[in-house]
């Protein structure tokens, strides 16, 4: 008697496998939620694949890009001419293409969301009930009021839509062509404290680690789950995993701190902030300034 004879006995046979019908079952709530979170972060990592390509904007120093993006956003809010905004969108689009971002990716990233959010907000403005003006298309009558789409309404809706599109496209372009940590470091030119930048960088780094941990914990649960759990059981599982995760991350943060101390950290972070501009950077800065000045001139004079 060794006390574990059961271990040496074969209990199950594979003779009749109950293969399911071709139609697969539905994913549970926890699976779907976690799956969504994981795929969002994977996407964030895949996006850094664009930042690693050897395109035009990738070769520009992150600090230059951040500063010019900020100036560009201010410019976009100052412009009141639709044709200028359209021209700026064209410039941004060309920059995306020269930075090896496919047109389809660039357009879909921006235009899938704009109709959804801004579009709904500006939609009422095209009707004469909200913005009175010269009718373009008469839709009918409600009581004694004629309802029509107006030229002025369409103009102002288009204008807002375009302004949002140019702004969002610019920011998307910055995020796609620049690595996360470079953007963070670039914040130093706006005098964001070094410690804040460093801690944000660490947060980003450990989010990945904790996500992987959650994913693996979830896999471990799944691989041992024999019966489909009832909602109560699933809730309990998730709650205990959350608790575990907090404990693990607390433990890890303590250890990371000791590893910083061991390498000479004494409370004040020192980082490498090398800021050297190449010829391309200067060329980019000059062209950007000329372009923005031209827009201001055409808009106001």
């Amino acid at each position: 008697m060794t006390g574990h004879e059961w271990f040496c006995t074969k209990e199950y046979s594979f003779s009749e496998v109950p293969f399911p019908a071709a139609k697969a079952g539905k994913k549970g709530f926890v699976d779907r939620t976690l799956g969504g979170i994981f795929s969002f972060f994977r996407d964030a990592i895949i996006s850094s694949a664009y930042a690693e390509k050897k395109g035009f904007l990738q070769s520009i120093d992150a600090r230059v890009k951040v500063a010019i993006t900020a100036a560009f956003l201010v410019l976009v809010t100052l412009i009141h001419q639709i044709y200028l905004l359209a021209a700026l969108y064209f410039v941004v689009f060309i920059l995306a293409i020269t930075s090896m971002i496919s047109a389809a990716v660039f357009i879909s990233r921006v235009w899938l969301f704009i109709p959804l959010f801004t579009g709904i907000v500006v939609l009422p403005a095209i009707f004469n009930v909200i913005v009175p003006g010269e009718p373009l298309l008469v839709l009918g009558k409600i009581g004694s009021t004629v309802v029509a789409i107006t030229r002025q309404g369409v103009n102002s809706a288009l204008f807002i839509l375009l302004r949002v599109a140019v702004s969002v496209s610019t920011v998307v372009l910055l995020l796609l062509t620049t690595r996360w940590h470079s953007i963070l470091k670039a914040l130093r030119i706006f005098k964001v404290p070094r410690t804040f930048v460093f801690i944000t960088g660490m947060t980003y780094r450990y989010i990945h680690l904790l996500l992987r941990l959650v994913e693996e914990m979830q896999f471990a649960v799944k691989s041992r789950m024999i019966a489909k759990p009832r909602i109560r059981g699933a809730q309990k599982n998730v709650a205990s995993q959350m608790g575990n995760l907090i404990k693990k991350s607390m433990d890890m943060s303590e250890k990371v701190y000791t590893s910083m101390i061991s390498r000479g950290y004494t409370g004040e972070i020192k980082t490498l902030d090398t800021f050297s501009l190449s010829f391309t950077d200067y060329l980019f800065i000059t062209s950007a300034i000329i372009l923005m000045a031209a827009c201001v001139y055409l808009n106001y004079f």
């Binding site: 061991s262 004494t266 490498l272």
Partner: protein
């Protein structure tokens, strides 16, 4: 009186003041030595390395650094702290703890920067370390994108970059493939030949004979079970057996079952 880098006298350490992690440890380290702390999982090797690096402080016993007693207060002194940190490096077992920066380059640059090297020097040092460790291609990568082997190599890079005199290595070969293990062992030998003191915690008997002149064996009771020359320790099968470092092994050769102790180290041989 010889200049010992570390001397521990009757050191005991308890986690949360009640769970013993080390009991009555007596140990010394002389400059230029290579020492292995050998022990099964949970025997207190890691804790001992944390104590040697001035990260944990024992509740009992005392620690001397070059014949001077040191304690937690010693590290509150900026000058002493900088002096100590520049000379003593600790490679953590888990590379995810060692690598906390956003890129490989930033991680390798971290210690030299904190220890006040100039930016130019740091950049040069980072490039040299990466070339030496053959990880140049990882420079701008984020640590979370690396494989375990790559992470381990980068971790080693982060402690070599400030050229410390004393290296405390916690399971430097755990989880590595055979070729990477070889590289790490060669690196330890090379560092030691250039005059550095190396203290390695491991349970991998394969590598002990190459990376140690002397061995301290820790047992389940978290005490030092033996300390002797590497050869004497590795020949002492009874000791290795008692400390769970080798096991009785039963296997078959040409239809003949037989049993013998199985050490998995270089001195292992048997005849039939």
């Amino acid at each position: 009186m010889s200049d010992k880098i570390f001397e521990l006298k009757n050191v005991s350490f308890y986690y949360l003041d009640k769970f013993p992690a080390l009991r009555e440890i007596n140990l010394y380290v002389e400059p230029g030595e290579k020492i292995v702390l050998l022990g099964a999982n949970g025997s207190g090797k890691s804790t001992l390395l944390h104590i040697l690096d001035g990260l944990l402080f024992p509740q009992e016993g005392n620690i001397q650094f070059f014949n001077q007693a040191i304690n937690e207060n010693s590290f509150n002194d900026e000058k002493f702290n900088a002096f100590f940190r520049k000379r003593v490096a600790f490679l953590f077992q888990n590379p995810d703890i060692q690598l906390f920066s956003s890129t490989v380059k930033d991680d390798i640059a971290f210690a030299p920067l904190q220890l006040d090297m100039s930016a130019d020097e740091v950049n040069k040092r980072v490039d040299e370390v990466m070339k030496f460790m053959r990880i140049e291609h990882l420079k701008e990568r984020a640590p979370h994108q690396l494989s375990l082997g790559e992470k381990k190599k980068v971790s080693i890079g982060t402690v070599l970059s400030f050229n410390p005199d004393v290296l405390l290595l916690d399971e430097p070969t755990a989880g590595l493939d055979p070729r990477s293990v070889r590289e790490v062992v060669d690196l330890i030998i090379e560092a030691n030949e250039s005059g550095k003191t190396i203290i390695t915690a491991t349970h991998d008997l394969h590598i002990v004979s190459e990376i140690a002149d002397r061995v301290y064996v820790l047992n389940d009771e978290k005490r030092i079970a033996a300390s002797d020359s590497t050869k004497n320790i590795l020949m002492n099968e009874d000791l290795l057996h008692k400390t769970n470092l080798i096991h009785i092994h039963e296997h078959v050769h040409e239809d003949l079952w037989h049993t013998h102790t199985h050490a998995h180290h270089d001195l292992h041989e048997h005849e039939h």
